[in-house]
């Protein structure tokens, strides 16, 4: 799929940014489990945190494919930083799509310019793939709701300024924007994760947090079906492209390494079993990118099919990223098992992608159901 000149220009700009500001530090950030604030500021200064916010609201107003290309390039450099773009964009998009005019006025420009960093808080210890299991409660009290519960594995929860928090109320599931300085919100870091170690993961304890009813996004009862669903759709799209970036990074590392490393008297690139792995990487990255582009075009057209096509793209791209990263470690041998080489980080990060924003198994159920739904139950079997 050929990119138009605007997208080619943006892609080159994103690549330059990642090569200059992300690639050199990514391994160290991973080891330190820390995202330097100046990197986040650079992302904001370039306008990238406003990718999904309309230009008239102070954002970059990228179309879906442009947003995807940004995710691919960031994913090529550092999945932890890409995950910031993911969760921040999920919050910004939600405020833009479903927020009241007051919430849009209060937050959208700040989110678009990266002055306020957003994070998405649905997951709990007992509520992962099935968000309906969340136990965080929202009880009405005068002009407020009182939130009580415990959120876990919240990406960039350590540093975010604004959380999109999901809770159940007697009138159904609700979504709220909750400021970091809200009394009763206790944030603690989570360390020792397998991958995306620099994504500043946190637990949130909501201890009788009072939040104004004006901070409610959508009506009670629509918190999961519409608010979380549309945010997660954005998240899946972002992760899918990020996985293309992981695959591309692995491919580029392997092409370089196989052209320098000699075994049995020949460069690795001359070994046919290495060539097979490289071929599978090339084909996998291209196929995943095409699925992402297709989903992006449908998203820009407002096509309802964009939702299932995004699921398909995410499912394929993250599985492909894991396979490619596994082979990249294999090609690098013992070096690939060392933190001196990025491929071991890519492998760990890729594995995370098969779990977040819908595990592989959830997507398998969803995609298969969608396929069956498209066939009338009464259709005659063709023999």
């Amino acid at each position: 799929m050929e990119l138009n000149s605007q997208r080619q220009r943006l892609r080159a700009e994103f690549r330059q940014f990642v090569d200059a500001h992300v690639v050199p530090g990514a391994n160290a950030w991973d080891r330190q489990e820390l995202m330097p604030p100046e990197v986040v500021r650079q992302l904001a200064n370039h306008g990238y945190l406003g990718a999904v916010v309309p230009v008239r609201k102070g954002g970059a107003g990228f179309d879906s494919v442009e947003f995807g290309l940004l995710n691919e390039e960031l994913g090529r450099g550092c999945s932890s930083l890409r995950s910031l773009l993911t969760v921040h964009s999920m919050v910004a998009l939600t405020v833009s799509r479903w927020g009241t005019e007051a919430l849009k006025t209060q937050w959208l420009e700040k989110l678009g310019q990266g002055q306020t960093i957003g994070a998405f808080a649905v997951t709990e210890a007992e509520a992962g793939s099935d968000a309906r299991e969340i136990r965080t409660e929202a009880i009405e009290s005068g002009d407020d709701f009182v939130l009580t519960g415990h959120k876990k594995w919240i990406t960039f929860g350590q540093t975010a300024d604004l959380f999109l928090v999901f809770a159940k109320s007697p009138r159904g599931h609700c979504a709220f924007v909750l400021e970091r300085n809200t009394p009763g919100l206790v944030i603690s870091p989570v360390h020792g994760m397998l991958g995306t170690r620099a994504s500043m993961t946190a637990e949130l304890r909501l201890e009788q947090c009072h939040v104004s009813k004006q901070n409610l996004v959508g009506a009670p009862g629509f918190g999961l079906s519409h608010i979380a669903s549309s945010a997660l759709d954005c998240g899946r799209y972002s992760v899918a492209w990020g996985c293309v970036g992981i695959g591309q990074a692995c491919l580029e590392s392997c092409l370089q390494y196989a052209g320098q490393r000699k075994q049995s008297g020949a460069l690795l690139r001359e070994h046919q079993l290495i060539q097979r792995m490289i071929t599978q990487m090339v084909a996998g990255v291209k196929a995943a990118r095409l699925l992402c582009c297709h989903a992006g075009q449908l998203r820009d057209a407002g096509d309802p099919a964009s939702i299932i096509e995004t699921s398909i793209a995410k499912y394929f791209a993250c599985r492909t990223a894991v396979e490619i990263a596994r082979d990249a470690v294999q090609i690098h041998g013992a070096n690939g098992c060392s933190s001196e080489y990025s491929v071991e980080r890519f492998y760990r990060d890729a594995k995370i992608m098969e779990i977040i924003e819908g595990s592989n198994e959830i997507h398998e159920i969803t995609i298969a159901k969608s396929a069956f739904e498209s066939v009338p139950e009464s259709v005659a079997i063709t023999r």
Binding site: G218, H226, A301, S374
Partner: protein, 80 residues
Amino acid sequence: MEQAKEKLRAFLGRHTGGRVIGDDDRIFAAGFVNSMFAMQLVLFLEKSFQIAIGNEDLELKNFQTINAMAELVERKTARS
């Protein structure tokens, strides 16, 4: 209104294996549809009828049945 209902019936049919859904059947309560369907429905309404569904439209009564959605479309298109 009848044209809107016809489009809605066709869309719902595509997502329910061709099941025939009555204009007053409660589509979510009946469990005909999967978890992604709510947003697919929003996108379908927006694209097919050139309307924007926003915060103010998020009321259960607007999406429960084919009749309710046709009325929502009529109200939204009359305003624009």
